[in-house]
């Protein structure tokens, strides 16, 4: 009898234990399937909407970069014709693409459209045509890592801009910064990795917080095209001049040592440097960077929707979103914060415009010297001063945000530029006097964009006609070719995986 009872009790205990075990296993798998991704994103998936299937909140907020309604003191999401606002820039960039057309960019969602529309990229009629190299695509699209993976880095950089027009169609997006498996931040542009190597640093050692700025530093930096890379001669290989450091002097030193120039100035014949957009380099000298704030903290702050906290992928001016971007740390009123930003920007602008005025005069005075018969030897130190002065002007202006990100450094750089420009004009006055012109030169009327472009000999109507022809003939073919290619690309949905 005792044994029978033991037997029955054991059966009940085993049965209950079985139930418990099955419950544990069930609840474990329940946790696993709480997050079920809709699609399986492949390694270099360039289509942002495919990523958007799995991450709708982030994707939809990224689409808001289409908004072009916000204007700030010197930026915002609206397109601004910089040459129209300040025709002096036409003179400063004479002989270079930026004198043709310089629109301040809109959001990431317009990266490709704006580049296709810019007069700088010209009106190519087919492969191998046009003024710009393929390298110009590097920052514009998640198609870039895809294509680099397919054909190679140097192969990507070689050829004309028009050669790769049909390949690059998706605007800046997910794959540029994210690992498709873990969604962790990643670096997809070789130039940043190579720049870290050149500085003797390993980018794989970067912390998550540093990565929140470094993904931006893949593009928002000063760069140049190196056509003399051993083994890859002739290919405009994208490089960052960071070997000696990121300050205005360190990069200038770097360029002077390798005897590099972006272009020869059409008026003064000076060997010029174009500061592209040293946003990261100037940001790291500022107080926000010093306190460990990253780009994403202000330009893509956290937001919550339906109780879910996520990173706002509407990358934009923090001034359009002060409550999430600034007031998380600064308890002041929004108006007050914006006024603080504008104060820094307008004070920097005041001196920058002074420097700009000196530079315009220096270029025109240099032209007068050449006209009067000055020699190469006489002009060389002057042109070097002009090169260094305009490099400082550009370094402080080109990233648009520098005067707020780092007002002290920006003031220092502009101050240095003013000295260099005055040095140049002092020497110019001596040369002019030597050739019998001991008075101010006659300044041409360059008070509007049109007058200035006419003065430097640009035929804008011709450029516009070429662009219109390109958009009518070649561009539709690119888009069709791209569509055919993408139609063939598979999307692995979870439903199809289960089959």
């Amino acid at each position: 009898m005792k044994n029978k009872v033991l037997f029955v009790i054991t059966i009940i205990v085993v049965f209950l234990l079985g139930l418990l075990a099955s419950s544990i296993v069930n609840r474990k798998s329940e946790a696993k399937y709480k997050y079920v991704p809709q699609v399986n994103i492949s390694e270099n998936e360039p289509r942002n909407d495919v990523w958007g299937e799995n991450f709708p909140l982030e994707y939809q907020s990224s689409l808001q970069t289409l908004d072009t309604t916000f204007r700030s003191f010197q930026g915002g999401s609206a397109m601004r014709d910089v040459l129209e606002e300040d025709p002096n820039l036409v003179i400063l960039f004479a002989g270079y693409g930026f004198s043709k057309d310089y629109n301040q960019g809109r959001g990431h969602a317009y990266a490709i459209e704006d580049l296709q529309n810019s007069l700088r990229t010209g009106g190519p009629k087919g492969k191998g045509d046009g003024p710009m190299p393929a390298t110009c695509w590097t920052c514009k699209s998640p198609d870039v890592p895809r294509l680099m993976n397919e054909i190679g880095i140097a192969e990507f950089y070689s050829g004309k801009w028009a050669d790769k027009g049909a390949e690059i169609v998706n605007n800046i997006g997910c794959a540029d910064c994210h690992n498709p498996k873990t969604m962790k931040l990643r670096i997809t542009r070789p130039a940043l990795v190579e720049a870290f190597d050149a500085m003797g640093k390993d980018i794989n050692k970067a912390t998550h917080n540093e990565m929140r700025s470094l993904v931006c530093a893949q593009c928002h930096v000063e760069y140049y095209f190196d056509k003399k890379l051993p083994g890859k001669e002739g290919i405009p290989y994208l490089k960052f001049p960071w070997k000696n450091g990121m300050t205005v002097e360190a990069m200038e030193d770097y360029y002077d040592n390798i005897d590099f120039k972006d272009w020869t100035h059409k008026i003064s014949k000076a060997p010029m440097l174009k500061a592209q957009h040293p946003g990261y380099e100037t940001f790291v000298t500022g107080v926000h960077a010093d306190r460990g704030v990253s780009c994403a903290d202000c330009h893509m702050p956290y937001k919550s929707e339906g109780g879910q906290k996520f990173t706002d992928h509407h990358i934009q001016s923090p001034l359009n979103n002060t409550s999430n971007a600034c007031q998380v740390c600064h308890r002041e009123d929004s108006k007050k914060l914006i006024a603080n930003v504008y104060e820094r920007q307008s004070k920097a602008k005041e001196n920058r415009l002074n420097l700009e005025d000196l530079l315009v005069r220096a270029h025109l005075e240099a032209k007068k010297c050449w006209d009067l018969g000055a020699t190469e030897k006489e002009m060389k130190p002057i042109l070097l001063d002009i090169r260094h002065a305009q490099w400082r002007w550009d370094y402080s202006a080109a990233s648009h945000g520098a005067s707020f990100h780092s007002p002290v450094e920006t003031a220092r750089v502009i101050g240095g530029g003013l000295v260099k420009a005055q040095d140049a004009r002092l020497k110019l006055a001596r040369v002019l006097a030597k050739y019998g012109h001991n008075k101010p030169i006659d300044m041409p009327d360059v008070s509007s964009k049109e007058l200035a472009q006419k003065y430097i000999g640009l035929d804008i109507e011709k450029l516009k006609a070429e662009k219109a022809a390109f958009k009518k003939n070649l561009l539709p073919k690119w888009l069709e070719e791209a569509k055919n290619r993408e139609d063939k690309m598979e999307v692995n949905t979870n439903a199809s995986l289960r089959k």
Binding site: T10, A31, K184
Partner: protein, 197 residues
Amino acid sequence: MKKKIEILPQEPRWRKIALFFIAVIIGLGLFMAKESKVISYLSDDPQACVNCHVMTPVYNSWMHSSHREWAKCNDCHVPHDNVFNKYYFKAKDGLYHATIFTARAEPDVIKMQEASQKVVQDNCIRCHVQQVTQTKYAGFLEDHKENRTKRQCWSCHKQVPHGKIHGLLTIKFNVAPLPTDQEEMVIPAWLADKIKE
């Protein structure tokens, strides 16, 4: 040998069956110990608390708080007066959790039991004692002692450290990330290879 037979059932037939079932119980027990990661509950690792996904929201909110740098789950949620009390309380709390969870009776919003509140309050004081005991005020501030001792810290500091949002549905994908980044490549493998070329 004789002694042993006396303890075990007399009839060999029953003995075999009983032995078999006892072995089944032990086997099932071991299986469950493995599945439920029983050993991990003896540690202080916060990862042990998210073995059970109901804890993911509180784990995530803790992980994004400044307390992450100083206090793990156990630093606040189990007593620290002595080691026996610690494990006694942990076992009591854990078995209660396991019972509720197995019965599928867990609420959408988890709140502390009274015993647990007392433990947490003691643990707040344990670290922050210097910030909450300004005895000199007792002389000239009315009700200072009562204000100080009769309330719980989180009557005011409601969002420390778990924030104000607690529901299971508020945590995206219900994924509990690791507290620190594991070292890994930030460059995709193909790009690293291509740069080496």
